[in-house]
Symmetry: C2
Subunit: 359 residues, 2 copies
């Protein structure tokens, strides 16, 4: 079975959300001892979870965040505020448990799994005195420079997606009930902006932002690089594999695979910010049904993220000006999703509570 | 010591936030291994907590929500979608652990304390088979109808505030590190809208909303009632006690007392939605410094809440279309605040992580 076959089979295995469970869930919500839909979007969240999990007892106790790491050849164009070595150094920080995603995952009670999808260094993970293991799925030592040609081959793009799919599938098989996507990769707002531009049809000016915090000069250069990358490669917006291979990244492909896995296995996936949503755009190009299984953790401060979410038709849960990546916004939103689940499962009905309903 | 003296002493005991700790906290934030202030508002939250707690190790493990309940004479004007008996019935639901605030408090690990600040029924709490105890601080069996005269006397308004102050003080003395405010009282969006109109100077049309879900006819009537209540009573916007006594409610006074207690004892208080923010407006009229100690849990769906928060100059943490009250929005936001604390305390510095900082 080739990778190409696999993606085809994945997509064929994805079904629309079961509306029957959502209707049943809405009926339960209507009985809860509170004014009609007084919890607003918390009701929408818990009801969609019921649809995804095909239950009236939704449960997301077992959580995991997959942090996909990759390096980017386009960094040689000078598009990032940080040196490329930071990708590997941050991966080591994840493994040592000292980064933002580790802190927020401890708060929400989530596992963190870190994947080398294609970073430049070959990390000797045995030497790391941390709680987490690095899974090695290295596609290559960083992508090629998308401003001068394709970031990777079509075969590599397929493999990156299938790898993400398999990693997520493995977690779901082990009992993970909700999955967050995360990313690490110096320079990866550049391919993400390129993907956003190509897939949504928005102008590069709207999609290219300051990433980790570049100045005005670098911002101008970054826009030029994205425009050039699209001109040089001419990706087909209707073909997610073409877009990913020409202007994407390995970790973005991995995230696209996670999103497809959530839909395939009917499990909720919480996407994080700009890079994760670029991955979701690739997955959406392959199978538009994926959005029914996605929760958007937050709206990132990165310019263009709001447009990406709008294109996908999903509302972010949080809007706190975050722009860290790593999966932090999605993980933080899981605590809100879990709050919605508690409400749905634990609030008494009017009848159980013996309270008079509306006049 | 009269109540009047007490409020005076409370206000005299409130000091501005210690800017020194916030500066120190911002210095730590700048060292965390992430792009400059990449967690957006989470940084502002953790740094303000450092200022309030006078520490670089903020801690909010021990949480409580005070749910203040009261009845309202103005309900006889037909301003609510639910019958007045629901106030007492919901108090019993809180005590049985079956309401929204109970579910969300279990999720975030918070205590819930329910206070009879002046509901109509005299509940025999010994008969309730629940986890929570009802604290009886009944001012009266509901307020008078604010559309026809003052809701309560000035002395009662003072006592309601001091009672809330003492209840919160007691919790802080027992080690509670963060306090949420909550409310229950059929009809209480009407006094809250009146307080909002008087204190902020906005038009009643902007402040009066649908509460628990009234139809257009009741909404028109509710606006007329608020306008009439303000005309009949002519409260002095600069005198919070006058406003509370004329167009307020007992639970709103109790919440104002909680807000003052947070500022007095330098502890963070998370306010919930429309009714809690009306309480905060009363407290702010007595002492504008209180806003430095308040976190606004969320923006309620209730019309006018956004204007109240804008008047106070505080940004809500969540914006999820919630309008339940009970303290639910504030309690849910505590999990975000706790996430911010984990980030501040646990993320390594660039130096500790051995990661290169920005070029």
């Amino acid at each position: 079975m080739t990778n190409d076959m696999s993606i085809k089979k994945i997509v064929e295995g994805i079904e629309p959300l079961d509306g029957k469970w959502i209707i049943k869930a809405r009926e339960r919500t209507a009985q809860l001892v509170m004014p009609t839909r007084a919890l607003g979007r918390l009701h929408d969240i818990s009801e969609r979870l019921c649809g995804i999990q095909k239950t009236l007892k939704p449960k997301i106790d077992r959580k995991a965040v997959l942090v996909m790491a990759g390096d980017h050849g386009v960094v040689e164009e000078g598009v990032s505020a940080y040196p490329q070595e930071v990708t590997g150094a941050m991966v080591q920080t994840f493994l040592a448990g000292g980064a933002g995603i580790n802190a927020i995952s401890r708060h929400i009670g989530s596992d963190v799994q870190v994947i080398d999808m294609g970073i430049i260094p070959d990390l000797d993970t045995d030497s790391i005195n941390g709680a987490h293991r690095l899974l090695k799925r290295k596609m290559s030592h960083g992508t090629a420079n998308l401003a001068r040609g394709p970031a990777m081959t079509r075969q590599m793009a397929e493999k990156a997606i299938v790898t993400g799919f398999e990693l997520a599938t493995d977690l779901f098989r082990k009992g993970i009930e909700i999955l967050g996507t995360g990313d690490m990769g110096i320079g990866n707002t550049t391919p993400s902006a390129a993907i956003g531009t190509v897939v949504t049809g928005k102008k590069p000016e709207q999609m290219v932002g300051r990433g980790t915090g570049i100045d005005d000069n670098k911002l101008i250069k970054k826009r030029e690089v994205v425009i050039r990358g699209i001109q040089v490669n001419n990706p087909d917006p209707r073909d997610g594999l073409d877009v990913l291979s020409k202007v994407g990244g390995f970790e973005i492909g991995g995230i696209a695979g996670c999103v497809l896995a959530g839909a395939f296995h009917s499990r909720p996936v919480v996407i994080d910010g700009f890079i994760s949503t670029a991955g979701a755009l690739i997955a959406h190009t392959l199978c538009p049904l994926v959005t029914e299984y996605i929760f958007a953790g937050h709206r990132s401060e990165e310019a263009g993220h709001g447009s990406m979410l709008k294109y996908l038709g999903i509302e972010p849960i949080l809007d706190l000006g975050m722009r860290l990546g790593e999966g932090t916004g999605g993980a933080l939103a899981m605590s809100v999703i879990e709050g919605a689940v508690h409400m749905f499962n634990e609030v008494l009905t009017f009848e159980e509570a013996g309270v008079a309903d509306k006049d």
